[in-house]
Subunit: 393 residues, 2 copies
């Protein structure tokens, strides 16, 4: 049985590429750029008026001039005008600075009468209230690097440089399969010994939040059915995510069948609770995450292993934060313990309040938590205020 | 000019309801429950076997019996079997515990030969390895309250109780309008005095991440066009989000036209940087956020005011965290300063590293940050390690 760290390393070492694709800009939020983005113009592309008011030549002010006849209006979106000597032009935020001007004075600092603007202040700085051309970025400069996560701000940049369809890394296709004869569809009324499917819906929702529309299937505990279905699925999906049938039960056929079908097993079982029977393997085209079927186990493994794996495949750095325990926690098994916690930030401190629940079958408890705290297997008694890695749901 | 706190209070006091709707379970992630959810059965619904192994009666063990003839297999998903006296049944995780048994022993602690299971251990506890009926929740108990944010774990719960279409609060319809004659579409090559639209794309992406598919429009700086378009839009959208034309410019017609069209102004201008000219108003059916047009101003106002307003409308508690400054920041204007920062968590501390950028026109700088730190207007010198409210992008 391997450790959590060994499992993590093995999983992250498998990093298949799904290639890249072009997507519509307005659909690209949350994706990773697979191109670098160059400034097609200076940022800003011209000396940009940054305040509504008038534009003058500073030397006129310096020569003692305090009143300026208004020669016209330089609107945003209009071609650049030219100012006459010892006059001014009204200028609007976003306009290009008129020729023969170098300083902008805000309306707040002016009185305007009979088309003459007079200063109400005695101190101005040459070049003030101008967002100078190329101050932020220069034409030709890389403004977004390859492997950047696209958020709304990056979408603004992509729009500015005219990229209507950015190149991004493709998301893998994922098939989620539930197993177990005790499971019925959610619209059905279960018999006394049955329960409704839940893991598959939890996983589909998690995948959707990561941008992936998963395909779903259900397998009964029949060896023939499992083998036939998996053989097809393995050739048609980038990721196969299974829930259940990986432990020691008489009908836990998955590990055996997956190996028969040529999936290379990288590990089976991890020194952890929940999720000990987790099985992981790959073919040349498919990565197989076979999670234990208890709801908390499935969810914990998906958060702790699948999500960082996906981020790694998408060229994002998988990171985990660390949080401080609000009370002592005892767990004396030689296993890494993924404790359910509710986090909060108090005085800038990220705190983790244990909400342990009643074991890996206690799905309802997950709704009280928002993260798993990873308590190392060497730690039998995690002290109040001790720091541990945190995995947000 | 009002303060940030006054603006926040005014905005949050307007809380129109868009009503509720039923959505498909697999589409409900990120929405807010508008119903409470009752357990339709006990959680778990039967005494559930929690380990693969055998089920026995503890009194037999207590009487010294250590070997048990196997009477059959209780599979998950099969109707409950009954155990014969002094025998055992093999039981699978997820199965219901057979009648006349009360204790489960794992395969790991057994040897099985000639259909007889013999114990390899000397100590067992009555009732072990059973997830007892109703341990987690009782039938009839409220398991999800009204106003719960639906995440993947909640979707698992909704599936378990058979809710295929949860009732959730409707999202408001939003129309995003950009203004300004200097703006051209992203597929166009701008003339020297023009720039491409970016704010509208940033806002659409932000709204999409909040679950809202926005409608977009562009208005040129023509009073007639603005009035005609806004008149129609105001009657057809729950939220009108504008960017630009709210300052002191000659073509900043929006505040005037909005009031002419019967929008009640709640404030114009907030003591803040960026985003001072922010205008906010309402009609009986529409909430109007008119943001200043500089990209950083627009984005900051959307994050600081619109997002909490939306959360409040959706019955979620808008919260902000607080983070610790990593270095001293000077800002001596009598304005609240929204500083762009890059956050990190170190030793459980949420830290905010200033990445101030070059003003409200410096869109590119937003890509270096991931939050705004709100430095109060009374604070001219924010010290290293001081705590401030944080607004994640």
């Amino acid at each position: 049985m391997i450790t959590v760290q060994e499992a993590e390393t093995l999983i992250l070492s498998h990093r298949p590429s799904s290639g890249t694709e072009l997507v519509e800009l307005d659909q690209s939020n949350g994706r990773t750029l697979a191109q670098s983005v160059i400034a097609d113009r200076d940022f800003p592309p011209f000396n940009r008026v940054a305040m509504d008011g008038i534009a003058i030549e500073f030397k006129d002010f310096n020569n003692g001039q305090r009143s300026f006849p208004i020669g016209g209006i330089q609107a945003a979106g209009s071609p650049q005008l030219s100012n006459n000597p010892e006059q001014c032009l009204e200028v609007m935020t976003g306009a290009c600075l008129p020729e023969n001007t170098d300083t902008v004075i805000r309306y707040e600092d002016l009185s305007i009468e009979n088309n003459v603007a007079s200063l109400l202040i005695e101190k101005i700085k040459p070049g003030q209230n101008i967002h100078k051309q190329a101050t932020d970025r220069k034409k030709g400069e890389v403004i977004l690097t390859n492997d950047t996560l696209i958020r709304p701000a990056e979408i603004g940049i992509l729009a500015t440089v005219g990229i209507t369809r950015p190149e991004v890394y493709k998301l893998p296709s994922v098939t989620v399969i539930s197993t177990g004869d005790e499971l019925v569809d959610i619209e059905q009324t279960p018999l006394p010994h049955q329960i409704r499917k839940s893991n598959v819906h939890t996983l589909v929702a998690l995948l959707k939040s990561l941008g992936i529309e998963a395909t779903t299937l259900h397998l009964t505990d029949s060896k023939t059915e499992i083998r036939t279905t998996l053989e097809t699925v393995l050739n048609n999906t980038d990721v196969l995510m299974l829930s259940g049938a990986v432990s020691k039960g008489k009908f836990d056929f998955l590990p055996e069948i997956l190996e028969e079908l040529g999936v290379v097993k990288h590990f089976h079982k991890v020194q952890q609770r929940p999720g000990k029977p987790f099985w992981f393997g790959t073919t040349s085209s498919c990565t197989v995450f076979a999670f234990p079927g208890n709801p908390v186990s499935t969810y914990c493994c998906a958060i702790r292993y699948f999500k960082p794996w996906l981020e790694n495949c998408l060229h994002l750095n998988p990171t985990s934060d660390s949080a401080r325990l609000t009370e002592e926690v005892k767990f004396d098994k030689p296993l890494t313990y993924f404790l359910q916690v509710k986090t909060s930030i108090e005085n800038g401190q990220l705190l983790a309040q244990p909400v342990p629940g009643k074991g890996s079958g206690d799905l309802a408890n997950l709704t009280r938590a928002n993260a798993f705290l990873e308590i190392d297997k060497e730690t039998n008694l995690a002290k109040k205020d001790s720091l541990h890695r945190l995995w947000w749901f």
